[in-house]
């Protein structure tokens, strides 16, 4: 079994979906491909392939630490997508199914990419594949969101390309042999730390700084760190819930992996202090901005976008703390993505039942869509780090790490932002769920049936969020530890 399977399976199914003639049975290809992908990535997690140095692609420790999560996320989302596309039978689904499968293929490629350029090409392709998913509804608002996503995302990805070239040039100046795989880059820069005043070090340092700034801005845009987060509320507000879940858990994770891989190279070059001192403020600023917007946003799907910005901030803080912080961040990648699945899918149900998105127009959803509302409320408590769900454990570990590293300011700001976010989220969620339903929603609520197809997937996410927190499998904790060791600068 080879790591290429994880890329080939979705590609083959994408091609199959493209030529599949029947609209009604085509969505069923999604769970089949997703199921095979889960089996493949779990198999590879248990029997990791030999990582050969110098290859452009490999299922290394970092890929092992996050890719199984993306497989799981995609599989459960694909089950929901089957039910969703049945409800939306008026829209043609060929492009949607095709793009979803290609997105999975490119995410698998980007996360396994060991080469600076290949990572960029895969990340760009994944960005492009999300565009047809965002405007699936075909409304004017959806096209506006797609346009803004294309412009902001495209510029971000262009900046990261420039950053990649700067990093390549820094390697040339450091006397590199032209090998742009991450491990080779890290090895090329390592001698510089021993003698920072040597000519090679002086010649490559300005390029390294430029590379870090551009790459952080570029991949940070993809992650949705403030102030580059502006596309997020528009896109999450307009995209179908299932796409929102995949974006919030999948593409952002890919961007975070890219940041971690670049950080590994910079840390080996002796610029660890710079990466830490930029990631920490970026993370805290994102958390603060998100928390403030959460207090005021009237649209409950846009609210989820700000929650995602907040959690990307948490990941950046973890990466900025370093050491155990990175471990906690990888843990948080899992807990956040799985919990976001609950929220996006149940919010999608509520949105359909209410036929409105604004807090002022939606109320009494506990009456119209009781099961989705229940899951939405429980999911909200889970994402705001209430025990016993996963995010509680990962965020607790992050807090403890901050105190352990004597970074009290970070810990206090972190807690304050979490509290603000909790206030904002609870206020809105209960405004939607409680009260008397509007007349229009009552009529709509009768039309929207909470079938097993739209209820069981978010319930599965809720179960996974509980499981990952209470009984983290040792296989995963080992994978995260191995990933942290991989990312530490070799000495």
């Amino acid at each position: 079994m080879n790591e290429l399977v994880l890329i080939a399976v979705p590609l083959v199914f994408a091609a199959l979906a493209f030529v599949w003639p029947d609209e009604r049975s085509r969505p069923r290809l999604l769970p089949v491909a997703g199921g095979l992908h889960v089996v493949g990535s779990c198999w590879l997690l248990v029997h990791p392939p030999e990582a050969a140095p110098g290859l452009w692609l490999g299922f290394d420790a970092l890929a092992q630490a996050v890719l199984p999560m993306i497989s799981l996320l995609f599989f459960i989302c694909s089950l929901y997508a089957v039910a969703y596309l049945k409800v939306r039978a008026e829209r043609r689904n060929r492009l949607f199914v095709f793009a979803l499968l290609l997105l999975l293929a490119f995410l698998s490629l980007a996360i396994q990419a060991q080469h600076l350029g290949l990572l960029w090409v895969a990340a760009e392709a994944a960005t492009l594949m999300t565009v047809p998913l965002i405007h699936f509804s075909g409304t004017a608002r959806a096209f506006e969101a797609s346009w803004k996503y294309l412009l902001v995302g495209g510029t971000g990805i262009a900046l990261s390309l420039l950053g990649s070239f700067c990093l390549g040039y820094a390697a040339l100046n450091a006397g590199g042999n032209g090998d742009l795989t991450f491990n080779a880059l890290a090895a090329q820069f390592l001698p510089l730390t021993a003698n920072p005043t040597a000519e090679a070090a002086r010649n490559s340092h300005p390029w390294l700084v430029a590379a870090w700034v551009l790459l952080l801005a570029g991949y940070g845009t993809k992650m949705g760190l403030a102030p580059m987060h502006t596309w997020k509320p528009d896109v999450y507000g307009e995209a179908p819930g299932v796409v929102g879940a995949l974006l919030a858990g999948g593409t952002t994770t890919m961007a975070f992996v890219a940041v971690l891989r670049v950080k590994q190279v910079l840390d080996s070059a002796g610029d660890g202090a710079m990466t830490r001192h930029t990631l920490l403020p970026f993370g805290l600023f994102s958390m603060l901005v998100a928390a403030l917007f959460l207090l005021g946003s009237p649209d409950f799907k846009r609210m989820l976008a700000y929650s995602s910005v907040e959690h990307m901030g948490i990941l950046a803080v973890g990466a900025g703390l370093g050491g155990i912080g990175v471990w906690a961040a990888l843990f948080h990648v899992w807990t956040n993505s799985l919990t976001k699945g609950v929220l996006f899918l149940s919010a999608g149900n509520i949105r359909r039942a209410a036929n409105a998105r604004n807090v002022n127009e939606v109320s009494g959803m506990a009456w119209c869509a009781p099961q989705s509302s229940r899951m939405f409320v429980v999911g909200m408590f889970a994402i705001t780090a209430c025990p016993p769900f996963g995010p509680f454990f990962s965020e607790l570990l992050l807090m403890r790490t901050a105190f352990q590293y004597h970074n009290t300011l970070t810990a206090v700001t972190f807690l304050g932002c979490l509290l603000l976010a909790f206030l904002g989220l609870t206020r809105q969620v209960f405004a939607i769920v409680d009260g008397r339903p509007r007349a229009a929603a009552r009529a709509m609520g009768h039309r929207f049936r909470e079938t097993n197809g739209v209820i069981l997937p978010p319930l599965a996410f809720l179960g996974l969020s509980l499981w990952i927190g209470l009984a983290t499998p040792p296989l995963l904790t080992q994978a995260w530890t191995a990933a942290v060791q991989l990312l530490l600068p070799a000495s």
């Binding site: 090409v121 405007h135 096209f143 506006e144 346009w147 803004k148 070239f165 917007f293």
Partner: protein, 212 residues
């Protein structure tokens, strides 16, 4: 060799300024297309011996940046029935002045940054930075979707120019970038088409439904 190279890079910088100063959309598209073709010639000048892969990237660049993408944009232009950028956010003269200032700044910056010996005389680094800034100015300062796409293309051209410094390392990557860019413009074209149908205009100032 360096002289010919610098001549072409100078031409590309001139095309930046032309695109920034022009209010007519067809001439902006033409400037971006010409710039793409100029960039396609550069890899051939950089290599002392002819390699088939370099030749392939070169031909691919000229075909995609010089013909395919401009053709898609012109078609969008005809469908939307517009010709001019009216009321840009940053006026034509200010953006021209900013672009010129950025070019001077880029030359100064290129002098400060530590370069490899063989790149010391070439204008690749300043040209690349000047082009990136010009692209950004167009991306932010214009309101018509087509001008913004041209800005994005010019930004991309600047990055491509920078990539030439690493030509022998990243040939395959350049090919991947070209492929991505083609798909990107294809997707952009479709979205523009839909925006045109929904809003009956390609004026991005009308995209205001989504805000806090």
């Amino acid at each position: 060799m360096t002289n010919a190279l610098n001549l072409f890079i100078g031409l590309a910088i001139g095309l930046n300024l032309l695109a920034l100063a022009s209010s007519r959309l067809p001439s902006v598209i033409r400037a971006a297309a010409l710039q793409g073709m100029v960039l396609g010639i550069l890899p051939l000048l950089l290599e002392r011996q002819f390699q088939w892969l370099v030749g392939l990237v070169s031909v691919g660049t000229i075909a995609v940046k010089g013909f395919v993408i401009p053709h898609l944009l012109r078609r969008a232009l005809r469908a939307a029935n517009i010709d001019r950028e009216v009321r840009p956010l940053i006026g034509f003269v200010p953006s021209l002045l900013l672009g010129a200032a950025a070019t001077i700044g880029a030359v100064a910056l290129g002098g400060v940054l530590p370069l490899q010996h063989e790149h010391a005389d070439s204008l690749l680094v300043p040209g690349s930075f000047a082009t990136v800034v010009a692209g950004f100015l167009m991306l932010m300062g214009r309101t018509k979707a087509i001008s913004q796409v041209c800005g994005y293309l010019i930004l991309e051209n600047g990055i491509y120019m920078f990539g030439l410094l690493l030509l022998h390392l990243t040939l395959l990557v350049e090919a991947g970038i070209l492929l991505d860019l083609t798909v990107a413009v294809f997707v952009i074209g479709i979205i523009m088409d839909r925006i045109q149908k929904e809003f009956d205009s390609l004026d991005t100032n009308k995209l205001t439904a989504l805000r806090e």
